[in-house]
Symmetry: C2
Subunit: 373 residues, 2 copies
Amino acid sequence: MPRGFAFRVEARLGAARSGWLETPHGAVHTPAFVPVATYGAVRGVAPDELGALGAQMLLANTYHLHERPGEDVVAELGGLAGFTGWRGPWLTDSGGFQITSLAGRARVDEQGVTFASPLDGRRRLLTPESALRIQERLGSDVAMVLDECQPPGGDPLAARAAAERTLRWAERSLRARSRADQAVFGIVQGGQAPAARRRHARQTAELGFDGFAHGGLGLGEARALRGELVEAAASELPEAAPRYLMGLGQPLDLVDAIERGVDLFDCVVPTRHARHGVLFTGRGLLRIRTRAYTRDPRPPDPDCDCATCARHSRAYLRHLLRANEALGARLASIHNLRFYAALLERARRAIQAGDLGPLRRDVEAAALAGQAP
Amino acid sequence: MPRGFAFRVEARLGAARSGWLETPHGAVHTPAFVPVATYGAVRGVAPDELGALGAQMLLANTYHLHERPGEDVVAELGGLAGFTGWRGPWLTDSGGFQITSLAGRARVDEQGVTFASPLDGRRRLLTPESALRIQERLGSDVAMVLDECQPPGGDPLAARAAAERTLRWAERSLRARSRADQAVFGIVQGGQAPAARRRHARQTAELGFDGFAHGGLGLGEARALRGELVEAAASELPEAAPRYLMGLGQPLDLVDAIERGVDLFDCVVPTRHARHGVLFTGRGLLRIRTRAYTRDPRPPDPDCDCATCARHSRAYLRHLLRANEALGARLASIHNLRFYAALLERARRAIQAGDLGPLRRDVEAAALAGQAP
């Protein structure tokens, strides 16, 4: 582990574990949910509010920050912690996923990903080396390697080729790293075949990363298969390293993965749902924009201890979101992010107490429930 | 004055005065700037932040709240204070100005204003009586009468007819009022002729309102003429009643009006400028989106004590506004509203100390200055 890093497991329950990921910018109590701060800010929510709701680490999108304001600006202002005012740990993605999903005419070859910038249309190239160099300039605590991801349902041979290329890129990434105070995580690919995932995990582990991510999941594959794929990879990953499930997901996805030894999660779902007026509660989703809440004086979630539920009614939140007032998305994001933080707090306590059963039952019940008005 | 209201002048300097407007929801130290909360929220800024930056009273737009969520919903949730969580004093406009500027095919006759709703296209009618009834349901501390405003440069006869109609509507408004705990302010019109303003002010004062507004100003008339018009009206208004300049303006406009005895102001300028990246500082406007601030680590305004300037750099604020991140408009609004609150604090101290000269000189210098990067 690089300088300032450690990962200590404090409790185990089957494959699940609770622990501490120490970083130069503070410790993360795992399993933990990492809110998405694309451009270095979380949808109108300020750093002090994120701390108050229990966020421990944030994820910034390398590609977006590379385009605006550029990693040199972020570096000059003190890295992500100095630039944004969130002084806790930062995680950055490699930029590859955003490029292939956002940029026009992305082309992948052995060198890297060539794409036309959506901002100015000019051709750019992202390589394993430049992806890492950008993240070093951004100054995140955890950097991710550039990988090639094949969506489910594609050609198994293409998935295999992508996994092999990801492995070669992983080696290049390790050779390119130069910061002694930044962890670098490898990414397990391998498509939808458990055996391929297992092999790719073993090969990635042999390269000696500080942590490992399950990549290419949450793209439409069946839930049971996803569980198998995570398990297959986990069986080959070193117990002492942290594990991160990228880009997932719903509360039930998190419980599924926690039971299979995942320590870190990120997902846009809580903030995206918030903007659309969909609130997470222990009794299921509450669609706050519906007419039923027009005159409802209750807090969005009577069981929630967030700043929004402490101060505002369903009626006011519905009104703000319908009137497109910026305060609405902010208040809803605070609630949803608090829901996720509290869910993970409960998971940690459950692992320590030796029983994840009640949490799983509650999350399953909420996933099935239609929220009563 | 209605139950729970009082206006006490504590210091005078020429025509300027400093004092306290007591309302059922708390006291306002005057002269005071009232931020605009169109739909019951100020551009992503929460009630506790507004209190922290020195806001004392908020303005909500009656017409907008009438359309969404409707005054009955607001009343059922405890009026504006209960509905929004801003538990201090509220001011509401009559809705007339918004209708004539926003709604299609507005037609004014003796009965009131007939217009097509921009939401559903249906014909609606706002009368002096219904404007007051809506505001009573909203539960503001200060309600405004419906008035007819003629823009400058129009027919003097039309301006005279509008002023006379405004007077008849003012009488109808007073007959329609039914709340014992809400102040009602009359509005002085009269167009661009000082004599007409004086006459209209005298006639409006004779009707016996709890306070008085200068209406129909800030619509393009010359600054010197505006001063004359405010002075002319002020000479006929009772000394013991609070005076409100509606919809204005720039810092220099406020100083001009304070010197002529105005106690309350509202304007969208600080929040609108904030959204566009224009920040008020003691050295003039700072256009934060310009390239000069790309790497500027200084706070937006080094002389400011707001939460934004305490925590964030020009470089970060510029980045957020350019990336269209909601946090940018929020942080900029907090700064600009703090600038206005601090300006009014300084004006109150200056009146108490007996010298508005240095404040006027600083505000004039800032108005002339191009902000150095």
